[in-house]
């Protein structure tokens, strides 16, 4: 049973400031969704390696050449607040 306090804990991990209405709604909906997830416990997965990626992937290396990637001026258009070449944030 997923309760409101569970949702509050998860929301803290996910950095979401949920409203009381949202907490109640998500608790109810998640409870119903997660009960379907429990079906998986019936499947025998002994000796079955978890699959994290659909195809075999290999490490990709590029040539060790210097490329100029200083695109700060273009990126700055999307930054909410800056000072010089820095991201400006409120006090920590």
């Amino acid at each position: 049973m997923i309760e409101i306090k569970d949702i509050e804990y998860i929301a803290k991990l996910a950095k979401l400031d949920l409203s009381d209405n949202e907490k109640a709604l998500y608790a109810k909906q998640l409870d119903s969704i997660v009960s379907h997830f429990k079906e998986l416990s019936k499947i025998d997965t002994t000796n079955c390696e978890p699959l994290s990626h659909p195809l075999t992937i290999t490490n990709v290396m590029r040539a060790d050449h210097v490329i100029d990637t200083d695109t700060f001026a273009e990126l700055a258009k999307n930054i909410p607040d800056t000072e010089g070449r820095f991201f400006k944030v409120p006090k920590i």
């Binding site: 400031d17 997830f37 998986l40 990626h53 659909p54 490490n59 909410p80």
Partner: protein
């Protein structure tokens, strides 16, 4: 002369080549049509008229200089708004990216542009591609051009509506659990999810990285063939992009030649097709099953041999998908913190407060639901029971699919358990909405290619689609069968544009 709107790529290429029309005329005709009908459909979040007219001028200059025309010269294309287009917004239909302008092009956009395609606009989607109806957009609800009381399907609903509505000839979508194929099926067009890694994801805003794949949508199989041919490429910016993809299948990777390679008599002779038992049962709408029966008959008449096959793990695909997709999404969407780009709440006490409030305000309801669900599945105490277990069952499903595909060329099923539903019909019940993806999810989990092809109309005249899945990098085989079906049924099920 046939109207430019509603023409296919082959027709437009011929008109351009013999100078019957200019690229600018094609572009203007599509914009006139958009300006008249978009108000009823809501396919677009942003139109890129200035860009498209410039692109059209460049094509007309090539024609004037008698230079060879690239593959998609002058062809209007729409781009899903989770794919980056330089100096235009990429919003993912989310408030958190409402003011975001892409500083770079996605690799697929570069490819289309280099091939001469004309970008008409960025299309609506479920926020961050999370949804099956296009109703989760935080800006507008796209309507199905076949009947505006119905959803176009999602999440690439705007792209499907753009193609089905005649606003563009082709469109790009992204498919994490069916987001290209489902709206293609609901709107009566063709949509393909390529093999994972075939098309670069660079410039696609990540939802679930092990499942996401960009793919083409069009009103005919041949239009999809042209679009796919353009967007396949090696990309240094995407480490999961496959080099020499077709080598192991001895496929030449030339899709454009498919229409010439299909023989007149029994073109599918020797093909073995497996009808998936678990996707042809009481859970599927009777009219969809009836249409599927006709598909079997047509493919049989064309020489294919069809058997019923069983993929038992498909019954677990839905929980596996919703655990893995939400877990990956909760991780991918952690980057939206209000610091480097995107929405930032101004009324905050400190940095922590800024994260909490910016994300709470910026994300919509379905996105937050999935972040919570994914975070829950990854949290201490639940990780093994949910996330790791889902990955193990994902392996079992992939094994079953690939083993069956050793004996069969392709697997056949409906694309969706039903036809399009009405706007607002499923919004209050997320679990019921998730069930819409039951037939499309397995291809994403296994990383294999799949295509949806129109195959009929139900009694309310809404389109029905069927799906073919194949082994990795057997796109050509899928497209060939799709093309043969379309020719055999004289394209009668494909969406036609009645442009008055």
């Amino acid at each position: 002369m046939k109207s430019l709107v509603g023409s296919n790529i082959r027709e437009l290429k011929t008109l351009l080549a013999n100078k019957s029309v200019s690229a600018k005329e094609i572009t203007k005709a599509h914009y006139e049509y958009i300006e008249k009908h978009e108000v009823n459909i809501n396919a677009f979040l942003c139109l890129t008229k200035e860009l498209s007219l410039n692109q059209a001028s460049a094509i007309d200059e090539l024609i004037a200089r008698k230079e060879p025309l690239p593959l998609l010269a002058g062809i209007p294309v729409a781009i899903k708004d989770n794919i980056c287009l330089t100096n235009y917004p990429t919003t993912c239909a989310s408030q958190i990216l409402a003011n975001y302008q892409s500083p770079y092009n996605a690799s697929v956009v570069e490819k289309l542009t280099n091939d001469g395609a004309i970008c008409v606009g960025k299309t609506n989607l479920d926020e961050f591609a999370m949804g099956s109806s296009c109703e989760n957009s935080s800006f507008k609800v796209t309507k199905n051009p076949c009947n505006t009381e119905y959803v176009p399907g999602g999440s690439s609903g705007g792209s499907a509506a753009s193609v089905a509505g005649g606003f563009s000839v082709i469109a790009l979508g992204s498919d994490t659990g069916g987001s290209i194929r489902l709206p293609a099926s609901f709107c009566g067009i063709v949509g393909m999810k390529p093999t994972y890694g075939l098309v670069s994801r660079y410039g696609l805003v990540a939802f679930a990285s092990s499942l996401d794949q960009i793919g083409p949508m069009g009103r005919s199989v041949e239009d999809v063939i042209f679009a796919l041919q353009s967007i396949i490429s090696e990309c240094a910016h995407d480490s999961t992009n496959i080099k020499e993809p077709f080598k192991a299948n001895l496929d030449d990777g030339n899709f454009i030649s498919i229409p010439n390679e299909v023989s007149d008599n029994k073109p599918l002779k020797g093909m073995k097709i497996g009808l998936i038992k678990e996707l042809d049962n009481d859970g599927i709408n009777p009219e969809v099953r009836k249409a599927l029966k006709n598909v079997i008959k047509v493919l049989n008449d064309q020489g294919a041999h069809i058997d019923e096959v069983s993929i038992p793990q498909i019954q677990q695909a839905l929980p596996v998908y919703y655990i893995i997709a939400t877990a990956e999404a909760s991780s991918n969407l952690a980057r939206f913190d209000g610091i480097r780009y995107g929405y930032r709440e101004s009324n905050v006490q400190n940095l922590e407060d800024l994260y909490l409030k910016s994300r709470e305000q910026g994300f919509g309801s379905e996105v937050k639901r999935r972040i919570i669900l994914g975070t829950y599945c990854l949290s201490s105490g639940y990780f093994d029971a949910y996330y790791k277990k889902a990955q193990a069952v994902r392996r079992l499903l992939q094994n079953e699919l690939l083993t069956t595909l050793n004996s069969y060329d392709v697997l056949l099923s409906p694309t969706a358990p039903s036809t399009a539903f009405k706007i607002n019909e499923k919004m209050a019940d997320p679990l019921n909405m998730y069930l819409t993806d039951i037939a499309t999810i397995p291809a994403n989990l296994a990383g294999i290619p799949a295509i949806s092809i129109p195959c009929g109309l139900d009694n309310t005249h809404m389109p029905i689609g069927f799906q073919l899945m194949g082994k990795p990098f057997t796109e050509k085989k899928l497209l060939k069968i799709a093309y043969v079906f379309e020719q055999a049924t004289n394209q009668q099920f494909n969406r036609q544009i009645n442009n008055n």
